[in-house]
């Protein structure tokens, strides 16, 4: 499938270069004010809620949201609307169960948090491995998205996109650390929003001005979905319902375990501002997801043949519907936004891997952070270049399922259940990771499984049973050997649940963050 380039290559490359250049520039400007180790890791915990919320939005809206949601809507219709709901509402769960205590814990990373709560180095190591794995799995689809977007618009070979994203991200992460990344991410959220909202509004006005859609595209809509009545039918079929429930479990509870989102919560000044940040993030995401949905609907109505390359719908649609330079310019704008999506998510993930790796391997120095950032970008790049293309929203959804089966129970039980033990945590992490990972692997590899709808659904979307399993194992193993809860655990729980004094003492804050 090598479509003709839909944009003048100069325009497309110009759009991509502009985004990359701005990213590096903002990163370099950030370097001037990013001096200490704490700046590098958590922006010295001084990021205000609006900035932080924009940055979280910027980091979170990945290829899956920017390209994948519209693509899924093209292919699956209304059924696909559950994905953006889950991506957004995941932050509600994050707010309810982890945001404030996590911020108050004062730990740098998820492994730090787990080690402080459970007092065990084995837990720290297990969590570190999982965090790195999750981030790698999450970066791969971003790089594939970059390859796809650049390839379909310019005709350049796919690897150029992946390599370009990795190069820009490594450069800006290595030299800027967390503080400058916060500026970059916040900027990129608004860029992404504008890059989808403007073209979507233009397209709606354009189609409205051309008069009501003729009968032809509507007939084509039925043809595009293949079997249009299949959508309501699959909503009621047992495996369809199971899939929806499982996707929702994965997305709702996967968000609160995503390492690159969690690391952002440590940059809030205190617990209440962590809550405010989350509410703002929810609102920003709610506005954002209206537009990929609009693109999906427009695509189904006006250009149903794009379902063949569904994930590129968002980029191709403006140039397809509006002839001439206006359409090309809008497509270039969308491409720039997509590029921002790949860059911001990848750099957020890279910061979290680099944070974890440099704590584990290099004693947490700034130099170690830089080495770890470069090293940890190489693995997903290799994987993206070797692996074939996948449906973006689907493969990111599986990463959410994996996170929901591992990090989520660990965090929730650590925060709310004082009897959780290190042995229970490790057993639960292992059970969740093995169950979820092997199920997905089986459903992809074993031939003939595609014919058994129920089994395919159970293994292909394991979250609905693997998340409860992980919780059950953690609780079960912890409860088997009932021992008195160590006082250190109670002290930790006091620290993470106790409200701050009215005015946090600046001197105490300073000693805490320099520790």
């Amino acid at each position: 499938m090598t479509p003709a380039p839909s944009l003048p290559p100069a325009l497309a490359i110009g759009a991509v270069a502009a985004v990359a250049l701005t990213t590096v520039l903002v990163g370099v400007l950030g370097l001037r004010i990013s001096r200490t180790t704490s700046d590098f890791y958590v922006a010295s915990r001084t990021v205000r809620p609006w900035w932080n919320a924009s940055a979280i939005g910027g980091e979170y809206l990945s290829a899956a949201s920017f390209l994948g949601v519209a693509g899924l809507i093209m292919v699956n219709g209304a059924q696909a609307l559950w994905y953006p709901i889950g991506y957004t509402a995941g932050f509600l769960m994050l707010l309810l169960f982890v945001a404030t205590p996590l911020r108050r814990s004062g730990a740098y990373t998820v492994p730090d948090f787990a080690a402080a709560r459970l007092g065990s180095n084995a837990v720290r190591r297990a969590t570190s491995v999982l965090v790195v794995l999750i981030a790698w799995f999450y970066i791969v689809p971003q790089l594939q998205g970059a390859a796809l977007a650049l390839h379909t618009t310019t005709g350049l070979p796919g690897w150029v996109g992946s390599v370009a994203v990795v190069a820009v991200v490594v450069a800006s992460v290595m030299f800027g650390g967390m503080r400058s990344i916060t500026f970059v991410q916040a900027f990129q959220f608004w860029l992404k929003l504008a890059a989808l909202a403007l073209p979507a509004l233009f397209l709606v006005l354009w189609l409205a001005g051309r008069g009501a859609p003729s009968g032809e595209p509507i007939d084509a809509l039925g043809a595009a979905s293949g079997n249009a009545p299949a959508i309501p039918a699959s909503l009621v079929a047992p495996d369809g319902v199971y899939r929806t429930v499982s996707v929702m479990v994965a997305l709702l509870f996967g968000t609160l375990g995503l390492p690159h989102v969690l690391v952002r919560f440590y940059t809030n000044p205190d617990g209440p501002s962590a809550r405010r940040t989350t509410v703002i993030v929810l609102s920003l995401l709610s506005v954002f997801y209206l537009f990929p949905t609009a693109f999906g609907i427009l695509g189904r109505t006006a250009a149903p043949d794009l379902a063949g390359q569904a994930d590129a719908t968002v980029v191709l649609l403006p140039a397809r519907l509006i002839d001439g330079p206006l359409g090309a310019a809008l497509s270039a704008l969308v491409l720039a936004g997509a590029m921002a999506a790949f860059l911001s998510t990848t750099s957020g993930l890279l910061v979290s891997i680099a944070g974890v790796m440099s704590q584990e391997l290099f004693g947490g120095s700034v130099h170690g952070f830089r080495v770890a950032a470069a090293a940890s970008a190489a693995v997903p790049l290799g994987a993206a270049l070797l692996a074939g293309p996948q449906a973006l929203a689907g493969s990111v959804g599986l990463v959410f399922a994996f996170t929901a089966s591992t990090i989520c129970p660990l965090l929730i039980l650590s925060i709310w259940w004082r009897r959780l033990t290190a042995a229970g945590a490790i057993a639960g992490l292992a059970a969740g990771a093995l169950a979820c990972g092997s199920a997905v692997l089986f459903s992809a590899i074993v031939p003939g499984i595609a014919n058994m709808a129920v089994l395919q659904a159970l293994l292909g979307q394991p979250a609905a049973w693997s998340v409860p399993l992980a919780f059950a194992v953690m609780v079960g193993v912890s409860a088997v050997r009932r021992r008195p809860v160590p006082t250190a655990v109670d002290r930790f729980l006091v620290r993470i649940h106790r409200p701050e004094a009215y005015e946090p003492d600046p001197a105490r804050e300073a000693t805490r963050s320099s520790r």
Partner: protein, 128 residues
């Protein structure tokens, strides 16, 4: 810290640092950090009420979502606009309504949990 209402007598002597600190009446805030029983009971009740709040709000939201899902399944065959048969009521229900619901739940939780914490602070604040 508000000043202790009944100050102990303080001996002003030369090297003060060697002496053990004079005992003061323990404040609730201090009991909390030192894991006394009263502090523990108070904090546990705070944790319990925060967890209860989170579960109630989360449950309410999931119930809304299930309701919307059922409605969407029922409304999948109702066209939203005449002339656009592909765009059924399900689209409106799923594309728009869940988001205000999520924001409302989040805003409610943020306010209610801040109120829980405020209540707790009232309890531990040193009364004059």
């Amino acid at each position: 810290m508000t000043p202790d209402p009944h100050p102990q007598r303080v001996r002003v002597t030369a090297p003060r640092s060697n002496a053990a600190p004079a005992p003061v009446a323990p404040s609730l805030a201090r009991e909390l950090t030192e894991q006394s029983e009263i502090g523990e009971v108070l904090l546990r009740s705070l944790i319990r009420s925060q967890l209860r709040l989170a579960l109630v709000v989360g449950g309410a939201f999931l119930t809304c979502l299930c309701g919307l899902g059922v409605l969407a399944a029922l409304g999948a065959s109702f066209p939203l606009l005449p002339g656009l048969p592909g765009l059924s009521l399900a689209w409106l229900l799923l594309a728009v309504l869940p988001y205000p619901a999520a924001i409302a739940c989040a805003a409610f939780y943020a306010r209610a949990s801040a109120r829980n914490e405020e209540h707790f602070r009232e309890l531990v604040r040193d009364k004059p």
